[in-house]
């Protein structure tokens, strides 16, 4: 069984949960991952500072789309402050695998748009390797070579 393309991931990719439109959202945000061309948007309903409902929409690779589906139920009920604390570790726990540096942005795109909608930020979640990859990722890439 492939560690990445497990039934769990493929099921969420083919039958994504909480995808579609949400009428009159309190917050929304869209972005893309230039590497894969993944596109992801989110619409969120709030009760006070808590997420009461949300819907993703977009297209892209299995990792980006499945991750959005997988985290969607987990995000309901979280406060804005709690969402602000989420990072790559949250994604790794949710999808049950540590993504390689080349696929990390695919996995983090859905969290990025949720944080974008609620926090008004255009930054990638903490721990995302970008032009300045952190030392752990560099070491890991070297080990892979």
């Amino acid at each position: 069984m492939d560690p990445l393309y497990r039934e769990y991931i493929l099921d969420h990719y083919k039958n994504p949960r909480n995808f579609g439109d949400l009428p009159q959202p309190d917050a929304e945000f869209e972005d893309r991952n230039p590497l894969c061309g993944d596109e992801m948007g989110v619409q969120i309903k709030l009760e006070g500072d808590r997420i009461s409902d949300l819907r993703f929409h977009g297209q892209g690779c299995a990792i980006s789309q499945a991750t959005a589906s997988i985290i969607s139920d987990e995000l309901k009920g979280k406060t804005v402050a709690e969402v602000a604390e989420l990072d790559r570790r949250f994604i790794a726990e949710e999808i049950g695998i540590e993504l390689s540096p080349t696929r990390l942005k695919c996995g983090l795109l859905s969290l990025k748009v949720v944080q974008g909608a609620l926090l008004g930020t255009d930054e990638w979640p903490s721990g995302t390797p970008d032009e300045d990859p952190d030392a752990a990722d560099v070491a890991r890439l070297r080990n892979e070579i």
Binding site: Y5, L10, C36, D38, A62, C106
Partner: protein, 413 residues
């Protein structure tokens, strides 16, 4: 006969590439990403290493033996690559890559010849390296950027070319071979029609020079840009060929050492072409490597290279097209194509396909291939692309097809 020639060329050639002995995921690597960068034959690696081991010195104006050897290696690279593309060495400007070659034209010739209200005409199948410099130029000069569109078979639509050329176009910039569609463009025809309208032509030959015989003069281009690393040479070196009379008239690009004749307190005069465009210590080791790459290609014979790659591309087109759910982009006939096949598979994102192919030791590329305007026109966010070089085999194409089938079964597609 062509096929037999290709098989002979192929037989000896794999062992020239040390990296092909590597294993990935327990299998010998099937490297199908040469349109991104080609692997390097041992002779190229050795030429670079030998320069540093035996001959390292700066070029120009030194009397000692190392400097003379370094100069010979640097200028030797220029001479060999000139011979490969049918040019005179004095028309070959050594730069960092094809992108820098195009930007050189932007900052010199184009700034003096493209003004407010003028048009730069490019095509919808350009690599970003032949789009973004012209966007920047047009913004700077108050000029317009227009596109020649691509038809359903992946060919340029040239029906109204003459009318468009007559409307204030100063430069046509187009690729010789599309890095996504594989289309071989009729550059000589475009150049002839452009010249009839008094319009200059720049051709991006980054994909073409490694794949078939290119005579830069016969292309009709005024400028022809290509890069070392796609033609089995090192990274960090590329070529701008230009018509000598144009190069002579153009102002310098970067200022500094080596590009001057005399430096007064308040102004300078310029060295002759090509030195005028080569400020600073050049890429000496890389030029030695580029020369070795040109020797390698000349040794194989570019007709034989083309015959082998066309045969392989025809085989790949046939096998990949036969897989259900696959869409192949670009011309259907391998005779109209360079050595690559871009495709998508229904229900599987190209990045997932590339990752799963890697599990089988098959290296392909997935993404927008630095051609986002073309991706928009194709209506896809990305494609998978398999590209071929002299060392590839039909067996490797079979492994790719197996990997696609395997990905389909994992995805249930």
């Amino acid at each position: 006969m062509e096929a037999a020639t290709a098989q002979v060329a192929l037989e000896g050639v794999r062992t020239d590439f040390p990296i092909l002995a590597r294993e990935v995921e327990g299998r010998s690597i099937a490297y199908l990403d040469s349109a991104a960068t080609a692997q390097k034959p041992a002779a190229v690696i050795e030429a670079i290493s030998s320069y540093y081991r035996n001959s390292n010195a700066n070029v120009h104006r030194s009397m000692h033996v190392l400097a003379a050897e370094a100069e010979a290696l640097y200028e030797g690279g220029r001479l060999k690559v000139a011979e490969l593309v049918g040019a005179r060495a004095g028309e070959i400007v050594l730069v960092r890559n094809a992108t820098e070659a195009i930007n050189l034209v932007r900052f010199t010739w184009a700034r003096e010849n493209v003004g407010p209200g003028d048009t730069v005409l490019i095509t919808a199948m350009e690599h970003h390296s032949n789009i973004v410099p012209w966007q920047l130029l047009c913004a700077e000069q108050g000029a317009r950027l227009e596109y020649l569109e691509v038809d359903g078979q992946g060919r340029l639509d040239l029906t109204d070319l003459d009318e468009r050329l007559a409307g204030g176009v100063k430069l046509v910039a187009l690729t010789h071979v599309s890095n996504v569609l594989g289309t071989i463009n009729p550059v000589a025809e475009v150049a002839e029609r452009a010249h009839a309208a008094g319009v200059r032509v720049l051709v991006d030959g980054a994909q073409a020079v490694p794949q078939f015989p290119v005579d830069v003069g016969a292309t009709g281009a005024d400028f022809y840009a290509f890069t070392g690393h796609k033609m089995y040479g090192p990274t960090g070196i590329g070529v701008l060929w230009g018509k000598r009379e144009l190069l002579d008239e153009m102002p310098p690009f970067l200022g500094g050492g080596s590009m001057i004749k005399a430096v007064e307190d308040d102004h300078s005069t310029w060295a002759a072409v090509p030195a005028k465009f080569e400020a600073g210590t050049p890429a000496i080791a890389e030029s030695a490597g580029l020369g070795a790459a040109a020797d390698f290609m000349t040794g194989l014979g570019m007709e034989a290279v083309r015959a082998h790659e066309r045969e392989l591309t025809a085989y790949a087109l046939e096998r990949i097209s036969a897989v259900s759910g696959v869409t192949v982009y670009g011309p259907a006939d391998a005779a109209e194509r360079g050595a690559l096949v871009s495709f998508t598979v229904e229900g599987i994102h190209p990045h997932d396909l590339a990752e799963l192919s890697n599990r089988e030791g098959v290296a392909i590329r997935a993404g927008h291939h630095c051609a986002q305007p073309l991706m928009r026109r194709l209506g896809v966010p990305a494609t998978a692309r398999a590209s071929f070089a002299v060392y590839n085999t039909t067996d490797e194409v079979d492994r790719l097809v197996d990997a696609v089938e395997s990905a389909k079964s994992i995805f249930g597609a």
